[in-house]
Symmetry: C2
Subunit: 425 residues, 2 copies
């Protein structure tokens, strides 16, 4: 046998069973997003590298993006994130798009990272943004969208939790322990590393950026103060409003959540798996100006992004992915012999017209072999039409799970299928 | 204003209105594919260039694929087509996958072509294959899937037509006019160019590959013989079976359809726009061995591919894209003043729970401004809750199309919305 060309490291093949899980997740995302009044959009997968230079900074572009020169010699990149594309698209039509805009998107992204469990080089990402308002209600809504998604997958609030904090609150708090304004962006990065480093490493890092021992102690007090949110009018309103969306138990205050990017200015949040590997599932926050690199009117907004890889692991580990995902045929129409092929095709067409997913065995073969094929595809119901049935306008229907078989009039076919089918999908 | 980084030539931005059309097409594709018992799959967008070398030949790889070296120095390509990925995936699990397999996929592809109307460098493609059978019923089913898609978009059989032919029939026919076996692959390419060149150019091309004047005349007779299909047992059976699927009027015999690729061995087909620009919409056929470059058991199959760019132009020109595509919010919940924000959020949540797409205006503002916003988003129904309504447990509902407004009890909100909403979506 010739060698099979291997697949590229960090990419994934989606065989039907894996694809069905992806589709199930995407359908929930679509359902939740549209129910909250968001409209789907998409940008190109290929963008000029310049688009990422301004906002993302050197690290992301140089180290993580797939950059290459096109046959026409322009430097292109496979998009590593969507926000710069969103900014470009909004800037292009800033005076036509009704504000506030609610947009969501899902599609492939690429980052040249070291592949590991929970991280691939080619992945999908859900992006959702509410742009053109500074209202705290917008922050609450976006967090409610995230929580509604988690809830609808079947994850409980004991399994996942969205931790919320506020950059402005932390900024004020840092001034109370006399940390200079210039140092605060670095201090945010230090706080962001709190759960990623050992205490010793973390303290060394904090001292290294220029904090005193006293400031480090003060900082530790701050990030362990679970009541700190009460000092923020925004967070007080946020936690009042968030009660309305029916997902309150998925959301809590956490002073350690700060998000690494300088981009965020107000509310910040991050969803984590509780227990297990404590994986970060999604993150986002309020930003001051979506189109800051472009000019035009200032456009504040709030949004988040969620990759598909970690959430799928969390869902698998939690055991909440349904066994039946509606991606397989429900009914196999068998072919008794060559002369009856047309009749079997007719029956399959009739079943499809009624809205069922029906596959027909494409040629005459032993019925046992056809049933075995149906079993392998986990098909529940087989339809059999032999010459005797045809003569008397009958048809046989077999429940492949119980092995029950009944012979009925052709007119009762659909109702018999309905009886044998497990509840949808 | 700073310059906006431009988008890459041959890529597309999908603003919500364009995205809704794409989503509408994809939903029909998904619906038709799954109803016929096909399962969705997907491969990576990034593949090694070697995967395409064997099958596609030099032209596609060197001239059309985006090829680049990854940071790790492997030569990668953005997939220009899906069949080699399908072959790889099937070969990897040839002895586990139940045969015949019915798989479909939709996703992005890239080809470095000269962008023009109907052709982009980044595009989406629907791929669907029935693999592991040589039955003519499989050919008929795949063509019926294509026709069912066209029919469900609203295109009529006067607007589009799938032309079917058979490679084996043409091979036999060529032998009747004494065209040597070695010459036949080139002759297939000549036939494929029939409608793409002027008669003079075409004749010159035919002579150039080594045909005599007599053979060229014979060839012209052949490709104008509308009854040629009757000499093919396969096509006779095909046209008998195709009547069963309820899409017969979309399908006809055409001896000029031959498909350029050497890959096809039996049934070949291509869908065209009738009139207008006569654009080619989709094409496919029967192949002898999906995994021929890999070895293992021979796997015959039949399938087709359809890009999203041409079909969208055809659908737009035919005027069959529905005006309402279900991508916009149906209801705007207004915010009367700051003290009533929570009440408005509660109402929005109640409406969403009933399954409607509801957006809430995120802050208090003049009602006129909020209605204007709803108009711009083409939202049909607004909900208004002022202090008087709140006191008496009432709510006002405004039909933004007719400007009718009624004040009703809170318990009647959903039924009133239902009355005002145009029929879904």
């Amino acid at each position: 046998m010739a060698d099979i060309v291997r697949s590229v490291k960090g990419t994934r093949d989606f065989y039907p069973d894996e694809m069905a899980v992806r589709r199930w997740m995407f359908d929930i995302i679509r359902d939740v997003s549209t129910r909250f009044g968001y409209q789907e959009y998409d940008g190109p997968c290929l963008e000029f590298i310049d688009l990422y230079a301004a906002k993302s900074g050197e690290e992301l572009v140089k180290e993580q993006a797939f950059v290459f020169s096109s046959p026409g010699d322009d430097m292109l990149t496979l998009r590593p994130e969507l926000t710069p594309t969103l900014a470009r698209m909004v800037a292009q039509r800033q005076y036509e798009i009704p504000l506030p805009l609610r947009w969501w998107s899902i599609g492939p992204f690429w980052r040249y990272e070291n592949p590991q469990r929970g991280r691939t080089r080619e992945f999908f990402q859900w992006n959702i943004d509410l742009v053109g308002t500074e209202a705290v209600a917008a922050d609450a809504e976006i967090v409610a969208v995230a929580a509604s998604f988690l809830k609808e997958t079947g994850l409980s609030s004991e399994q996942v939790q969205i931790f919320v904090n506020n950059r402005r609150l932390m900024d004020d708090a840092l001034s109370t322990i006399d940390i200079a304004k210039e140092l605060r962006p670095d201090v945010f990065k230090v706080v962001d590393k709190l759960d990623k480093l050992s205490e010793k490493e973390w303290r060394a890092y904090a001292l290294e950026i220029g904090l005193t021992e006293g400031q480090v102690d003060g900082l530790l007090n701050l990030v362990n103060d679970q009541d700190l949110w009460m000092k923020s009018d925004e967070l007080v309103e946020f936690f009042k409003l968030i009660k309305i969306f029916g997902v309150e138990d998925y959301i809590s205050y956490n002073p350690k959540v700060i998000r690494g990017l300088d981009y965020y200015t107000g509310t910040v949040f991050e969803a984590f798996e509780l227990g297990g590997a404590s994986r970060a599932i999604l993150g986002g926050g309020r930003y001051d100006n979506l189109v800051s690199d472009v000019g035009g009117n200032r456009l504040p907004g709030v949004g988040f992004a969620m990759g598909d890889v970690v959430i799928e692991l969390v869902l698998r580990d939690a055991g909440v992915i349904p066994e039946k995902l509606g991606h397989k045929p429900q009914i196999l129409v068998t072919v008794f012999d060559e002369t009856l092929l047309s009749e079997s095709l007719k029956i399959a067409e009739e079943i499809r017209l009624a809205g069922y997913r029906a596959a027909v065995y494409p040629e005459a073969d032993k019925l046992g072999k056809q049933f075995k094929y149906a079993d392998k595809l986990d098909i529940s119901v087989a339809v059999i039409l032999g010459p005797d049935e045809l003569k008397e306008n009958l048809v046989a229907v077999k429940n492949l799970k119980t092995r029950d078989q009944v012979t009925i009039g052709r007119g009762e076919l659909l109702s018999q299928i309905e009886k044998f089918l497990p509840s949808l999908p």
